[in-house]
């Protein structure tokens, strides 16, 4: 083994540029596979993080009749905020939100929306609701960029907002679109319009009431309030987790395809290299090498190739991957029309398992694809090998 290591090292170093070309190409495989898998994992993480930051915080209390998948439940899903939670609102620990079904009329077209009342001074969710604060009595509203696109509204536009109050009476007013925000969470963007909580409570004749109460931090043992149901963060992100699981299967396929491509490249290189070196193999045999030793030498050489590639990958890959994790990868084209929640900038996330697994898989694969052709060629008659006679 020591001899095989020594000779393999000599062979690799002696081959100079040929070795380094192989190593560079192989190191690209390492880095690209890890980076791509990191981007996909980062995408998953981002979906969950964004959902937490923009929508669910550390958990929520829902009005007992509220069902986000049934818009008809919204009309009756409101109740006074429990006194204890009101105190926590003052401490900035919760943010209540009132949901009312309504419609807007951009350019005369009717468009159903969910009107969300949010306290402009809240700091828990990333919603830029501070923009809702006006001093001139204008009723300000904010919408997401997708909503703006669909409704063809832009900052500075006025749009008529219509709603039904608690008595079932329709009412309407013009609101100013004071800000269009960008988010990756479709459920806080499409079909949603945000106005100050107090304004919506006044419009809907529901003073001091809310539909949802979002907590800043996760509660270990949530207090039960009559008429309210506590939903933990885990419960609220379960769907995202399920989606990630489903995506993971697809990602594993992509990961496997990339590995397969890398493996094919390594296999081709090794086969070409080994079959070109038949005469050398014959010489090893003539000088006293056994077939097993020849196979061992080429397998060690292939594995050493992979290890060198791993070292080279570490040299430029670690800074590159770390920089990518920090700066993110900005998609070269607009992602808003992809039809799925994807950030314009994706931040790759790497795990030790991903890095170690990829390095291990490629190294083992290289060893295998070095072993297979060398085993075949070592079975050759040494006299044919010495003449470099192609099989």
């Amino acid at each position: 083994m020591k001899l095989a290591l020594k000779l393999a090292y000599r062979n690799l170093m002696g081959a100079g540029l040929r070795t380094w070309l192989n190593v560079i190409v192989l190191s690209f495989s390492f880095v690209i596979i890890i980076w791509l898998k990191g981007v996909m994992t980062g995408w998953d993480h981002q979906a969950k993080t964004d959902m937490t930051n923009w929508e669910i915080g550390g958990g929520q209390y829902w009005h007992s009749t509220y069902d986000p998948f049934d818009p008809f439940t919204i009309t009756d899903s409101h109740a006074p905020i429990p006194d204890e939670l009101k105190k926590r609102e003052e401490a900035g620990e919760i943010v209540p939100m009132l949901l009312v079904q309504g419609a807007i009329f951009p350019e005369g077209r009717m468009m159903p929306v969910t009107i969300r009342g949010v306290n402009p001074s809240q700091n828990i969710l990333h919603l830029p609701v501070k923009e809702l604060i006006t001093n001139d009595g204008t009723i300000a509203a904010i919408i997401g960029s997708q909503m703006a696109k669909v409704s063809q509204l832009k900052e500075g536009d006025y749009v008529t907002l219509r709603w039904r109050d608690a008595n079932g009476t329709f009412d309407a007013t013009d609101v100013l679109i004071c800000h269009v925000f960008s988010t990756n969470v479709p459920s806080v963007d499409l079909g949603q319009i945000y106005i100050p909580l107090s304004t919506l409570q006044e419009f809907a004749l529901l003073p001091g009431e809310a539909t949802l109460i979002t907590l800043k931090n996760a509660e270990e043992s949530a207090t039960e309030y009559p008429g309210w149901v506590y939903k933990s963060k885990e419960e609220l992100t379960r769907q995202v987790d399920e989606m990630i699981k489903t995506k993971s299967a697809g990602q594993t396929v992509i990961y496997a395809i990339l590995l397969l491509l890398a493996m094919l490249a390594i296999f081709d290189t090794q086969v070409l290299s080994i079959f070109r070196r038949q005469r050398e193999i014959g010489t090893y045999v003539a000088l006293g090498y056994t077939r097993q030793q020849v196979v061992g030498l080429f397998t060690v050489e292939g594995s050493m190739n992979a290890l060198l590639a791993a070292l080279l990958s570490a040299a430029y890959g670690i800074p590159f991957l770390a920089w990518q994790a920090k700066a993110g990868w900005t998609m070269p084209i607009d992602t808003s029309e992809f039809g799925m929640a994807i950030a314009q900038t994706l931040y790759p996330v790497y795990s030790l398992g991903l890095v170690a697994g990829t390095v291990a898989i490629i190294t083992i694969t290289t060893a295998i694809v070095s072993y297979l052709p060398s085993r075949k060629i070592a079975k050759m008659n040494p006299t044919d090998a010495l003449r470099g006679k192609l099989q």
């Binding site: 001899l3 020594k6 000779l7 000599r10 062979n11 170093m13 002696g14 081959a15 100079g16 005469r279 050398e280 014959g282 010489t283 045999v285 003539a286 000088l287 006293g288 090498y289 056994t290 077939r291 030793q293 008659n381 040494p382 006299t383 010495l386």
Partner: protein
Amino acid sequence: MESSNTIIIKGLYKRFPVGKGEFTALSDINLNFAQGEFTGLIGPSGSGKTTLLNILGSLDVPSEGEALVLGNSIGKLTTHEAANLRKVSLGFIFQSYNLLAVHTVYENVEFPLLLLKLSATERHKMVMDALEWVGLTDKIKSKPPQLSGGQCQRVAIARAMVKKPSLVLADEPTANLDAANSHHILKTMETLNRELKTTFVFATHDDKVISYLRRKVYLLDGRIDKVEVIHPNS
């Protein structure tokens, strides 16, 4: 008498499958080579000289008969035993040198010693001795592509001789060399043969080589045609 022979060949045949039939490359070869001989298998292409050399080098096996090399019956050796015989007792010199192109001259010559698991100090001394025999101590860091054909063959001789084997098998060692280089190489081998008592067996049809041989075994169509012995005084 037989015990002093390095090689004993008795009734040796070598047949190769060709299509559905067989081609007989060697027929009824009976030969002995004594220790320290400087001898050659001479004949035109296809006469069977390389085939016989390969069998003597335990790179191939006889189809029939026996070839005893340093007391080892080639046909009965396992692959490990054959490899061990080549590793310890045989040296090869090839027509196209068969040097390891990515290794330096020093590393090429050192290679057989690595297999023998000698210490670095021993290896260094033996490599430098071998390179001194062939006059290449100034080229230890060069790689084969940087050397001339004659220099490459001298490296190959140093590699074959470095472990001081009992038997060196040289297959057309001067085929790629000009006259001056050929004579230089042959003189080197002759000196080593005389000083180290190593048995040299050549396979050749080159007149330059033939002129140096002290025994000439002529092969024709796989059979021994005639054997000539050159007496030292002639």
